[in-house]
Amino acid sequence: MIQYILRRIFGMIPLLIGITIICFAVIHLAPGDPAQFLSSMNPKFSESAHEKFVKMYGLDKPVHVRYIDWVKRVAVLDFGESFAPDGKSVMEKIGERMPVTIYLNIAGMVLIFLVALPLGVLSAYRQNTFFDKSVTVFVFVGFAVPTFWLALLCMYYFGVVKGWLPISGLKSYNFDQLSTMGKMWDIVHHAFLPVVLSVFGGLAGLSRFARNSMLEVLGEEYITSARARGLSEGRVIFKHALKNALLPVVTILGLSVPGLIGGSVIFESIFSIPGMGQLFYQSVMARDYPVVMGVLVLGAVLTLIGNLIADISYGLVDPRIRYGKK
């Protein structure tokens, strides 16, 4: 087992190198550079400014040299400094944004599991009934509606027209002066719309997965035989079917690890949430190379770890899987 994990981790290294090379190439070969934002299209800017910035950021070196420099630093876990003039390091910038994104994503994910699993299982159990079809349509509606449009409609209706919910942001201005209960309410209140909408949009994947998985199990012989033995329907479903059907779902948990840090740019823009999506988008637009690289690499590492966790946990719950042979 440990040997297997070690080997997997070792195998990640070439993957990571590939990933960083692709990222680096895409970012650095693209037109535009960060110096230009600070030094062009403004008569008050001096002519020598562009050159000065190019040097300061080390952009005058060839791409491969910059890549090697970057790798050397990252090898000791130093992602460098952001190009933005606030003088923060990449890690600091990511660190500022991560908690918000993780908090909203965990809230969203827990809800998705709580809603999607029962929906999927029930749909499978009542396959082809009206209920099944309604659920199918319902979850696909969530998937198919352009999120920002639905979000704006909800913000307008619940925020402006009805005044029930705040429109955007995470906290009220007077947050520090609220009581503990008030603070909790304030946070829930602000997070309500973004979380509910992301849950609505995310139901389809998991509920369909649960449904298919359950259908497969219900078709297995041991279910038929359990029924034939005269076991109560509840027992059949909960004791036998459900347990086996939900095994693969565990892997989904592992696979959603990288999703935890990947904030949705669109949700974050619409709801003014200072999360990872915003950070990434703004860094891309400002050509803040170190931050873009940092976020992409972090995302990739988490994906790899997530995959590993998925594989391991799948093995743990399903004794049929053996490690060591792949």
Binding site: L15, A30, F140, A144, P258, G262, I266, T303
Partner: protein
């Protein structure tokens, strides 16, 4: 026997039919856009800006006095085009690499599958966003990027299928008979993966339409004056509480179409999947 079972399943599947009808309608609208549209979708008329829906302008007019109905009709062409080309690109790459990896195995397999792993490590939308921002938003780039970042699933699917049929008797005998590789691949292997690929493709078109609208929201989708549903919707978002029709109709169009493709894809999976 199999056929009749499938037929009975088709008959019972109302969702599949709704999906099919929506998709056919969508294709029809796109194909006959010039005959359906009531106005020139790009004609600017400053005397009739922001008119609400009426008998003349079914969906009202936009900020430049253009007919929203006609824009949405023509927009279906762009959305269809973006969806089909993007999916076409991912299928072409995915099938080719999957066949090569699965059939030849060895070094080619290792390299291709490592590459798939690398590609899968990027948060998809982040990657699309970065590349589009760096390369420039244009219809061509949007299609290319969506396509180039969506082929990995197909590759895995095709490879797995190839691996499972490669050792079967009829393939082996075909090999022994000296049939050329491409013939074996296309005649004996591809048909087996048709269903999952078709399902993936349908869902892919839906995904591409949604991705384009998300990119449009950020200003990185298909650019004006070409009307895509995404950019019509985005253009209307700032006026959502004033000129609701600007965003309502393209929003509904995206919603229904994406829903249609999803229902169709799921329906096909349900019907052709022998397990269910």
């Amino acid at each position: 026997m199999v056929k009749s079972r499938i037929l009975s399943k088709v008959n019972g599947n109302i969702l599949f039919f709704s999906g099919l009808i929506i998709v056919l309608l969508f294709v029809f609208v796109a194909a006959f856009a010039p005959y359906i549209a009531t106005h020139d979708p790009t004609y600017i008329d400053f005397d009739s800006v922001f008119l609400p829906p009426s008998a003349v302008h079914y969906f009202g007019t936009d900020d430049l006095g253009r007919d929203v109905f006609s824009r949405v009709i023509y927009g279906s062409r762009i959305s269809l085009f973006v969806g089909f080309v993007a999916v076409g690109i991912s299928l072409a790459i995915g099938v080719l690499l999957g066949l090569v990896a699965g059939y030849f195995g060895g070094f080619a397999d290792t390299v291709i599958m490592r590459f798939v792993d690398v590609m899968l490590c990027f948060p998809a939308f982040f990657l699309i966003l970065a590349v589009i921002a760096f390369l420039n938003p244009s219809m061509f780039n949007v299609m290319a990027i969506i396509g180039l970042t969506g082929w990995m699933g197909v590759t895995r699917l095709v490879r797995a299928e190839v691996l499972s049929v490669k050792t079967r008797d009829y393939i082996v005998s075909a090999k022994v008979q000296g049939l050329p590789v491409w013939l074996i691949l296309s005649k004996h292997i591809l048909p087996n993966v048709f269903t999952p690929i078709f399902v993936t493709a349908t869902l892919g078109v839906a995904g591409a339409i949604l991705t384009e609208s998300s990119l449009s929201f950020l200003g990185l989708g298909v650019q004006p004056p070409t009307p895509s549903w995404g950019n019509i919707l985005t253009a209307g978002k700032d006026n959502i509480m004033f000129a609701w029709w600007l965003s309502f109709f393209p929003g509904i169009a995206i919603f229904i179409t994406v829903l249609g493709y999803n229902l169709l894809g799921e329906g096909v999976r349900d019907i052709l999947d022998p397990k269910s």
